[in-house]
Symmetry: C2
DNA sequence: GTCTATATTCGGATAGAC
DNA sequence: GTCTATCCGAATATAGAC
């Protein structure tokens, strides 16, 4: 019933989750100790275990904060006039990712790496992934019709396939930003821009 | 001096590394305990510590077995006649990756995730990555000249940029094979095949 | 709800026999 | 070189006061 208390509680959980994320990004999920997280949060063991009953739960909920970060600018982009080209959409998405995740971009890769060995994360990833792919598919179908002039049926077939490719291109962008210090975002994005649209008819 | 002993030693190290890799793939680098690896290898603690002086060293050497797996079919592909199209090369590379890494494909993603928090892995990845990008760049430059008919100078500029894009596409392939159970390799590769070559002139 | 202090488990590494 | 048994440090989670 005390509304303030609920808000406080949510804020505290968020505060703890964010501190945990900083530790995870710095040291990795398992290397980060509860002691690290306790220090980073400025709280104490008791305070944290009052909100999360185990480290595992803390990991899961922190991760879901990252994954749920709605970098789904795709939704907004679908309504833009004139319609965005795919390359512009890719740029929008990676900018959104960088802006919203910030230093947590490497964390996203860590999460991907954990997916095969952590069913809970696997489920989250699968859910988020298929939602994004769906958005991409719908956007591309519209683009192939309105921007390129393909008949609707053909546009949808192509969109279905190309949606996974564009997702892959974005994953490649993330991967290379994380792996290579000298990765040049602009060069990559320009190469994307040079991908030609499917031939009409 | 005893030649047999050296070979035996190398074989044993390989045996241990492979057992470790199976454990790592199953549970992750840090979740896998030495006890797991000991059991998986069929040896004993003493036997293992006779060959590797710490778990960290074991991780690094096992990882280098994965990274050094020469999936550099690019080198061979550059000599193929008639020259392979980029999409065919991508297919060749991902097939090579799947064949040589097998169940260790998820492990590759784990490694990528560890790169930002493990400088040693970071160095390895950077070295391997730039070598692969170099091969790709050289191949694409040749292809744009011989297969597409671009002038050499323009071909090399385009190749420089597109090399990172194609690497990204392969990384996207790996990522999605690992993340999504229902990932359709063929659909992805066909979408790659539909990428049009740069317009002549 | 939060703090301090601590119990308990677990995992990496070693000692010493063979 | 390898095995068994074991030590020691670290890290998670809890107990109990405030």
């Amino acid at each position: 019933m005390p509304k303030v208390t609920d808000e406080h509680r949510a804020a505290r959980r968020h505060q703890i989750a964010q501190a945990a994320l900083r530790c995870f990004a710095r040291s990795g999920f398992q290397q980060a100790s509860m002691a690290d997280i306790i220090a980073e949060s400025g709280l104490s063991a008791g305070a944290i275990y009052g909100h999360y009953k185990s480290k595992e739960e803390l990991v899961e909920l922190a991760v879901s904060e990252v994954l749920d970060a709605r970098f789904l600018d795709v939704a907004a982009a679908r309504r833009a006039e004139p319609m965005l080209e795919p390359a512009a959409l890719v740029r929008l998405l990676v900018d959104g990712l960088s802006a919203q995740l910030g230093d947590n971009l490497p964390l996203l890769m860590q999460i991907w790496g954990q997916v095969p060995i952590n069913p809970r994360l696997g489920d989250m990833a699968e859910r988020v992934g298929s939602r994004i792919r769906g958005f991409f598919r719908d956007y591309l179908a519209d683009w192939y019709v309105e921007g390129v002039g393909l008949p609707r049926a053909e546009a949808e077939t192509r969109a279905q396939a190309d949606a996974t490719l564009y997702m892959g291109i974005i994953q490649g962008f993330v991967t290379q930003s994380v792996l290579f210090r000298d990765f040049d975002r602009e060069v990559y994005l320009e190469a994307v821009a040079h991908i030609a649209p499917p031939a009409r008819g």
